[in-house]
């Protein structure tokens, strides 16, 4: 068979796959998730019309109408408190996103319209970010498939056929770490030894962070322990709610060894995916804001500093508290949830990525769950205060920020906050390969001392 027949076969298989995704969105399923009492009949009618255009293979019209309906829903998602947004609107956003991404992908393979792979992934990502899962998280399944196709194209493999046959037609629940087990794992080699990664020995001091470190009192440093047993950890640290740095527990992570994470690796695996970036020095500032951009743009603008507007004041950008591994399962395969997380009452572990340049700050605050903060790239300065010290930490009074201190730990205003210096704390510089355990409600302040990628595991 010649290559053009192969290509059209491949295209047909893929179109059929897209059709199978859309087939899950029948009128009944849509009404189940999108309640016309809340959204109105016209919205429901138009969503069904989008599906109808897709089924009639009018991909251009489908994409256009989907885009328009997303704008309608977007305005609803931005009205009032996010937590009060009626779920029907978020379901609608997801359903329309599935339709739009499928339709754009069909346009792409038929080479009609002005569609790029980046646009298709953007449609998926916006749905994942703003919507709420429907049909066994059909959008995540679709995104993973499309991501895999793109990876294959990028790697130069003509393995589209293999990829589609591996993915079953039914939308199945994604199991952590298991999705799309690829027997022929592509070995990614680092093209360059990332020059931004400061490979420090444990006690070597980077001159730029001398300020904080020279103030560190050896008595105050958080203790370290190498790979404690579950029992030891339970007895000595979890039960007594004592913070501790665990070393050696990340050695088995592919992100640290066989598929070592670097800026280039992250760009290769996730460069074109859209993520929310925090801009501005800290979330307590007036100038703080969030912006959506691709991972590649984020790395090039805020970490490598290669932006076109190099002369402009580029505010500090931080990919903070984002469930990147839900969005990009490819990266999730590189990390391992610490066994210690399963000592809790619940099996649900909330994994977040924290990725940014030197100088990102999380102002002094506490969280309700246990946390393992793990360093994959770079190092961070972390200070912890026990909850009993709260009266000296001047928490905000508003409901939204009551878990956040008003004090800027880096530059404490001793006139406004006279008791702050009396509050007892412990501190550390968390190095690559180390994991900091923080019990619930422990106040913590975090500042990156280099380009840093941390993974946090929240559990209870």
């Amino acid at each position: 068979m010649d290559s053009s027949t192969n290509k059209s076969d491949g295209n047909n298989t893929h179109k059929k796959l897209m059709e199978s995704f859309i087939a899950a969105l029948d009128t009944h399923t849509i009404s189940k998730h999108v309640d016309s009492d809340f959204v109105g009949e016209a919205v429901l009618s138009k969503i069904n019309a989008c599906v109808g255009y897709f089924k009639a293979h009018k991909f251009g019209t489908c994409t256009e109408l989907c885009g328009f309906m997303l704008d309608i829903v977007w305005e609803k998602l931005n009205t009032g408190h996010w937590k009060d947004v009626i779920i029907s609107w978020r379901h609608a956003y997801t359903i329309i996103s599935v339709c739009k991404a499928s339709s754009e992908y069909c346009q792409l393979i038929e080479e009609e319209g002005d569609v790029s792979f980046q646009m298709v992934m953007k449609s998926c990502d916006m749905g994942l970010l703003m919507g709420a899962p429907v049909c066994d998280n059909i959008l995540a399944s679709l995104s993973s498939f499309l991501q895999h196709v793109y990876q294959c194209k990028v790697q130069g493999q003509s393995d589209e056929k293999n990829a589609s046959s591996k993915l079953a037609f039914e939308c199945r629940k994604r199991k952590k770490g298991e999705f799309m087990e690829d027997k022929n794992e592509e070995q990614v080699t680092d093209i360059n030894n990332d020059t931004h990664e400061t490979d420090l020995k444990k006690y070597k001091r980077n001159t730029r962070s001398e300020g904080l470190e020279s103030r560190m009192d050896p008595e105050k440093i958080i203790q370290r322990i190498a790979c404690p047993s579950m029992e030891h950890f339970m007895t000595h640290f979890r039960s007594s709610e004592t913070p501790v740095i665990i070393t050696g527990a990340m050695d088995g992570w592919p992100a640290m060894s066989s598929r070592k994470w670097s800026l280039d690796h992250i760009k290769a695996k996730a460069g074109y995916r859209t993520v929310p970036i925090e801009l501005g020095s800290k979330y307590t500032d007036d100038s703080w804001s969030q912006k959506l951009m691709t991972v590649r743009e984020f790395i090039e603008t805020h970490i490598e500093g290669k932006s076109d507007t190099a002369t402009d004041d580029v505010p500090i950008g931080y990919l903070a508290q984002h469930q990147l591994f839900e969005q990009i399962p490819e990266l999730e395969k590189d990390i391992l949830t610490p066994d210690y997380c399963y000592l809790g009452d619940s099996d649900d572990v909330d994994i977040n990525a924290w990725f940014g340049p030197e100088g990102t700050v999380s102002p002094l605050h506490y969280d309700p769950k246990h946390n393992f903060l793990s360093q994959v790239i770079g190092r961070k300065y972390i200070r912890v205060y026990p909850y009993s010290e709260t009266d000296k930490l001047y928490p905000h009074e508003s409901t939204l920020l009551k878990n956040t201190s008003r004090v800027d730990v880096d530059h404490c205003d001793t006139v406004k906050f006279p008791d702050f210096h009396r509050a007892k704390y412990r501190e550390c510089i968390l190095e690559r390969g180390e994991m900091l355990y923080m019990p619930p409600k422990v106040w913590h302040f975090v500042k990156s001392l280099s380009v840093s990628f941390s993974v946090s595991f929240w559990w209870e």
């Binding site: 016309s36 959204v39 109105g40 009949e41 016209a42 919205v43 009618s45 138009k46 019309a49 255009y53 009018k58 019209t61 256009e64 109408l65 328009f68 704008d71 309608i72 305005e75 931005n78 009205t79 009032g80 408190h81 007036d286 804001s289 507007t309 402009d312 508003s398 939204l400």
Partner: protein, 392 residues
């Protein structure tokens, strides 16, 4: 032949004689359900027609027998008043809507308010709340308040110069609006005369109140600075608070978009505040704006801004006097004394009337054919549409 008209700065409902004039009404913007196709051709359009454009990018004239009272735009429909005083619907489910409303609204309509996916129609006979499936609910209005606006969770109205607010509970058998007084003014406890509210405008999360003396108050949530008190917060301001930046300035006209606000003054100035994500305040959204060469715009020499939490007075050429301002969801329009129209903000449906779908972040002059013959009498923007009325 008589009809009614709402004016922007007062609640008086003016009757006017239209029999000898042929005012022209022009519309542009969202046409996703054929609402503008219907309006401009005065025919029922098949809303499933996929050859219909999703938006009309140029101001297009409306069939003459639609009276130019402000059209009420929802995202899927347009409600207007015909020359015989009856209501007309265009867009989604238009036939059903028209048939049902005729049965219920017998006397002259006093108010039409868009609220989420519903349209509230008030007449001397009572209030009817219509949803886009053609169903309606009759609502008791024992307090006899005239409703003038709605946020995403409350209705606002006026009676005898006093302001009222009501929530609607649709879950009950016989829904009614129970109004409670909401009056801007002095701190409770001090004995100072109550202020008379002249005009009010609602966004999705906030309300502006214009009182006599030209003072401006706002209530609601300032999630994007739309209250104009200088901060961004999700905390609710339930009692209308005066906008201190505008103290001493006589405001004569107000307008609200979904998340932004505008005020025109007796001096002919214009103040904008709130969300600027699409340039709806007429302020730059990025450090290097890419503006079309042919645009004639009211450029503002300031840094780019996403949120403006305090009224910002636009820098206008000396001979420009703003007489009217109106806001759609994420766009704004100005009318000057010279009869020129300027638009800014989100333009994906062509709601700016500039012939394209590129958003603008600075007030841009709109040219409309035939406008040179007539003069623009009024402008009205709502949701994702804009309409202008021209006298010939």
């Amino acid at each position: 032949m008589y009809a009614f008209r709402f004016t922007q700065s007062s609640f008086t409902i003016k009757m006017c004689d239209i029999s000898n004039r042929e005012p022209h009404l022009y519309v542009c913007g969202n046409n996703s359900c054929g609402q503008l196709s219907g309006l401009t051709k005065d025919v029922d359009v098949n809303e499933d027609d996929s050859t219909m454009p999703l938006g009309l990018t140029c101001l297009t004239s409306v069939a003459v027998n639609i009276f130019p009272a402000p059209l009420v735009f929802t995202w899927s429909q347009v409600v207007g008043v015909k020359d015989n005083g009856s209501l007309c619907f265009y867009g989604y489910n238009s036939c059903k809507m028209a048939a049902n409303i005729e049965a219920k609204v017998k006397d002259n309509v006093t108010s039409i308010v868009e609220c989420g996916n519903c349209v509230l129609v008030q007449s001397k006979g009572g209030i009817v709340l219509m949803t886009d499936d053609g169903k309606y609910t009759e609502i008791e209005n024992p307090d006899d308040v005239t409703i003038f606006g709605a946020t995403s969770n409350a209705f606002y109205g006026v009676k005898d110069g006093e302001c009222y607010k009501a929530s609607l509970n649709k879950a009950v058998e016989e829904p009614s609006l129970t109004f409670s007084s909401i009056n801007p003014g002095p701190t409770p406890g001090l004995s100072t005369p109550r202020l008379t509210v002249l005009s009010l405008a609602c966004g999705v999360e906030h309300t502006l109140f214009l009182t006599d003396g030209g003072r401006l108050f706002s209530s609601g949530t300032s999630s994007r600075g739309q209250l104009g008190h200088g901060c961004v917060t999700v905390d609710l301001v339930s009692v209308p608070m005066e906008i201190s930046t505008l103290e001493g300035i006589q405001v004569v006209a107000i307008a609200t978009g979904s998340w932004h606000s505008a005020a025109a003054t007796a001096e002919g100035d214009i103040y904008m505040w709130g969300w600027n994500e699409s340039g709806q305040l007429g302020l730059p959204t990025s450090p290097n704006p890419d503006r079309p060469v042919n645009d004639e715009c009211l450029y503002q020499d300031v840094g780019h801004v996403q949120i403006q939490p305090e009224p910002f007075g636009l820098d206008l050429p000396d001979d420009y006097h703003v007489t009217m301002v109106t806001c759609g969801s994420r766009h704004s329009c100005l009318l000057t004394a010279a009869g020129e129209v300027f638009v800014t903000g989100w333009n994906k449906c062509g709601q700016l009337g500039l012939g394209d779908t590129k958003s603008r972040d600075c007030f841009t002059h709109v040219y409309v054919e035939n406008i040179t013959k007539g003069r623009v009498k009024s402008i009205h923007a709502q949701g994702w549409n804009t309409s202008i009325a021209v006298e010939t």
